[in-house]
């Protein structure tokens, strides 16, 4: 998509002037989302991560260099803290006067087997995967409903009507079980529950909330060497299977790329999805609708 002819991205693009929050921003999928939002002209992106020593600086530098009109702000953030969430929203409004997009993309996989899953593991996954979206649903909309006159803040465009899009990046574990453990399936279901509950909560506000459920995403890391018991902190299990398995069970015969999730987030963030809310966008190369029996006939 980078030929001389194809140039859908531009500084005055579909997210022009938007102020965005992205959690999990230093993970592969989060990075791809930040980059995508910047490419479409977002004025500002708060790149949040719960780990204090994550390489914000590098991400911000890279994105700022490629998209000089977008300001990327590394922001240390504990997603399971209500106070942190409120503090972040205050910062956003004080600095920019508006909030348009909130993407939660931080996930916790949890132990793979039920035997090793403790109530404490469950609580951690629940907080990481579904309480963070809950906080977004509870606190972001009033900020998103705020309008701002022209010129009152640097960079951000004036906002003359309420607009907001909340995007919960979950997993296909929101609809079935799999190679991941019960923690992940349960909390991914709960994350989808936030989206579905959100339609009522947001009724009449004009603000939308949607879920992205990625399937196998290649995050460039071979998880086989990981100590899975150690609560690997990353998005939907990827690289768990070799290319042969992917070929057998995925319609497109390959894992997805973080950018392919990022692009869907860009679509949902923008007005191009203006009548989509409460939806679960499955981004899995067709795996979930292709019965495994299909292959060897």
């Amino acid at each position: 998509m980078n030929s001389e002819h194809f140039s859908p991205y531009r500084a005055d693009g579909k997210l022009y002037g938007f102020v965005c929050v992205v959690t999990g921003a230093t993970q592969p999928v989060g990075k791809a989302i930040v980059t995508e939002l910047a490419a479409h002209g977002a004025a500002c992106i708060y790149a949040c991560s719960s780990t204090p020593d994550e390489p914000y600086a590098q991400l911000a530098a890279e994105v700022n260099k490629a998209y000089p009109n977008t300001k990327v702000i590394g922001y240390p953030y504990k997603i399971t803290s209500e106070e942190n969430t409120l503090g972040l929203i205050d910062d956003v409004l004080n600095s920019w006067g508006r909030l348009d997009v909130w993407v939660t993309s931080s996930g916790l996989l949890g132990p793979p087997s039920i035997a090793e899953t403790s109530p404490s593991d469950l609580r951690k996954c629940f907080e990481a995967n579904s309480m963070a979206p809950f906080f977004a649903l509870k606190y972001a909309p009033p900020a998103m409903a705020k309008t701002t006159p022209k010129g009152s803040y640097p960079n951000a465009a004036p906002k003359d009507q309420a607009y907001g899009s909340i995007i919960v990046v979950g997993s296909v574990a929101s609809t079935y079980g799999g190679c991941w453990g019960p923690c992940f399936t349960m909390s991914s279901h709960a994350a989808l529950g936030v989206v579905r509950a959100g339609v009522s909560v947001l009724k009449g506000s004009g603000i939308r909330i949607n879920c992205i459920s990625p399937g196998q995403i290649d995050i460039g890391v071979d998880l086989k060497g990981f100590d899975m018991r150690g609560m690997s902190s990353q998005l939907p299990p990827s690289s768990l299977q070799g290319p042969e398995a992917q070929k057998a069970i995925v319609g497109l015969e390959r894992a997805g790329l973080p950018q392919e999730v990022g692009r869907v987030a860009g679509f949902l963030a923008s007005g191009f999805s203006s009548y989509i809310t409460g939806a679960n966008l499955v981004v899995d190369g067709g795996a979930s609708v292709m019965n495994p029996l299909t292959v060897p006939i």
Copy 2:
């Protein structure tokens, strides 16, 4: 269904000799489930409830009188406690030598509005609605896989092969939002997640796990007078709407009865559903597949 001609219930019926656990047993839906299991010949039912002063004695007396071959044991039980769950299973095996059916029917509705929903509310609902099923999935199967020779225990029939059915009574809030609050939608989704994760967990064990998602169930209580903020402890929101609303939005034009949920539990408990696992049985009088626009054409 009580004519002179219709007698599907009998002491040597489809649950003959089964040993069962039912949580939430003193609530209307739980009571109906206990009664249904007894009617089909269950040898023993542990009627569990988290509230110490619930009227176990009355329930046990009523059911024992109607079905003298079934022993109903009132059992105080904190569903969110791992220790309590393990203790209960020990008691069951020590007394009866087998475990066949585990029904979780205790639910917590939570606050109706997001403004009044705190992280603590979320945790309570999550524990009540999805951690209890998780404990059942983690600890009941080894006990269900145990076989027992003839005559070694009173009442319970000999068990010569592994058999087990776990039934999670949730809500239609497992698939969409509604008049209930975000807590309930989120934790009902998570409960369905236990069921879906359970198919992998139980693979090859022969033990099954399924969800029942009741819609509007008339529990004989007018909830309008309730302080909903007070975390009413009961199953899917019922009686929230008057008969006119039910007529407009439910295919069968009425709320369901607790017995109608109980009967589905009886089906899932028995071998009559032997190839059903991982399923979500929606018991809602057709409300979820009938678009509201249908009515006034």
Copy 3:
């Protein structure tokens, strides 16, 4: 389920006095349904099949012998004919004065590959798999709503209130694609559409309509030798995979049996499912909620 202790079936059972129609009655799944309805005490079953030379006599003889209180009537029937459907209903009402249960279980698989699928194949599958349920939905309810006084007809019990249950036996092809061809997926989806449309159509009538979606059912025939191009006339593709594949992809690690579909039909036919309508009961041993990636971890 045939121990000395287990006797849920009886002549005065849960379908006592019911008059039933079953299409596809001479196929393995249809036979199992007829037998199940008889075992629960149905007064009469019209065992319908579109192929004139099917062995009705044998089926009727077998079932009548095992369940002498049930009359099984072999009935040649073209399911795609509106006239045949109306004629059958007339016969039922003239002979028995009531109609309670209608099960469509005749299916057509169609060609396995799209290259070999013609518009004519599509039409045939559509007619067999979804027009037959449509005729049931259109014409059976008025007959089901008819009540009859005591004693006016032989065998059938008096019917003092409207009762009816329509059961569409489809396939998991109602929710995803698979090793079967596009014809089968398309027409299985359309059959589920009849059920979902049916809730509105039947609103307030008290009559219910539900779908059973079986997964891999072992019909005792090795389909590998079949000329699949030849439009094999049978229910969901079974025996297409060997036991190893079943072990890998089905939670219960085996194909289902026709009786296991039959029992679900018995449940849906009876008052035990009285608040279930518009539902899709997936009977697939858990295959559809277990991601194939689950196995090799």
Copy 4:
């Protein structure tokens, strides 16, 4: 979305050089799709319609004027004809050397009540709503897999790898029943079946197929005056309800606009949805996940 700042559309945009087919192109939703594809830089759009006297000329003139780099070709086309489909593909390849996007957006509503629905009505709806997508799935992919060297055709960009996106515009009637008749629910389900079957059919080809399921779309026509029995030929039933009903049952409290469906089609047509296939994008303002009971609490 047309402020001085927002300019996501451009002649060298995300569909630059694409050759597209759109059926139902003279209906409101079809027009919006044609316009959207043109706005993103499509080289050529075959605007197809089954009605010979439809105002192609006007549509082509309008779009060509607004987007001079896109050639819109009005094309009379009987969607239920295999020959017409093959002829159209021949024309496309002969004139442009490539085919990238195929959108079926022609729909037939059918009679609203089952009493008035004949087998002939069913066949017509089935052909219009699901056989047309089937023909696209069967015949478009080989054409989409064709690559073309630079400069060999006017306008269309060179295509150096297989690319294709098939988009079936259906209805929320693909997942539940409603105010429309059984014809529409059945054939909308079957159309979704084409998409789900399509993942297997297209496995490994790189070509994608997806469904858009619009809810209430305001097509600018008050259908209340229509003779619905007369088989109105248009997309999902809209304007059937007044603004009060929309406010009560739609999360966004309004009907959608044809452009809002068009934009989703533009997303699915482009590489921005490159890992989405087999999906059903519900575009309904949240109506399907918001239980009607939600409103009056």
